[in-house]
């Protein structure tokens, strides 16, 4: 079965990203397909490579990046939500005249259409939030 996953909250502050990760991993282990993980609202903050969590804590961004690598996951950060919250890739930074970018490997920035597409294509859409 094809799942679409929506993550609405940032890392560490709310458990949403943790639960979404555990769900995604479990779905993959059961042989399901993950069509896309879409990060919206504060969820876009999962996609910054600048986090430095304490050494005895999980690294939420690296965990997503690694899972994406292993399973060719499509991790999409909503562009509108990302702009409001300061998540940029190289292109966006250039386009907006910003001197730095912070997107993490394995994440890509795209439009809200990607969320609707996930709703249309996936057999089930599962939303994780506050």
């Amino acid at each position: 079965m094809k799942f679409g996953i929506v993550v609405d909250e940032g890392p560490y502050t709310h458990q949403a990203s943790d639960t979404a990760y555990q769900f995604t991993k479990a779905a993959l282990e059961k042989g399901h397909e993950i069509f896309r993980v879409f990060f919206y609202h504060d969820g876009v903050n999962n996609g910054t490579r600048l986090t430095v969590p304490p050494q005895d804590e999980r690294n939420i961004q690296e965990r997503w990046t690694k899972l994406a690598e292993e399973h060719k996951l499509d991790l999409v950060v909503c562009i509108a939500a990302a702009q409001r919250r300061g998540i940029l890739d190289e292109n966006e930074a250039k386009r907006q005249g910003k001197d730095a970018n912070n997107i993490a490997p394995g994440f890509r920035i795209s439009g809200l259409g990607q969320l609707i597409e996930a709703g249309i294509v996936a057999d089930r859409l599962v939303v994780f939030g506050d």
């Binding site: 079965m1 639960t19 479990a26 057999d123 089930r124 599962v126």
Partner: protein
């Protein structure tokens, strides 16, 4: 045609749990995750409401979240079923849609 409802907040903190129970259809499933697992504890002020809801729909609680809050199977209201993340995936697959009460 049935729905998997997910609730992730304590009924003591937010109204989403009660609102969810007010909108389930007979045959639906409700899965308590994250802070919502505290609703599954017997003897709480919400136990009666939960017991009543269990007659109309199937109630599940996410085991890993339950354990994190210091609870286990013995603490559960009778009839609530324990699942792990794999069981959560199965529930999402078995029902026709999911409805997250955020």
């Amino acid at each position: 045609m049935s729905t998997l409802h997910t609730v992730n907040k304590s009924p003591f903190e937010r109204s989403s749990f009660i609102s969810c129970l007010n909108h389930v259809k007979a045959g639906d499933a409700v899965l308590m995750i994250e802070d919502a697992v505290v609703a599954a504890r017997k003897g709480s002020a919400f136990a009666e409401i939960v017991e009543k809801a269990a007659k109309d729909c199937t109630l599940y609680v996410l085991g890993p979240d339950l354990a994190a809050r210091g609870m286990g199977e013995d603490d559960l209201i009778a009839g609530i079923k324990l699942v792990d993340y794999g069981g959560f995936v199965d529930l999402a697959a078995e029902h026709d849609r999911t409805n997250a009460w955020l």
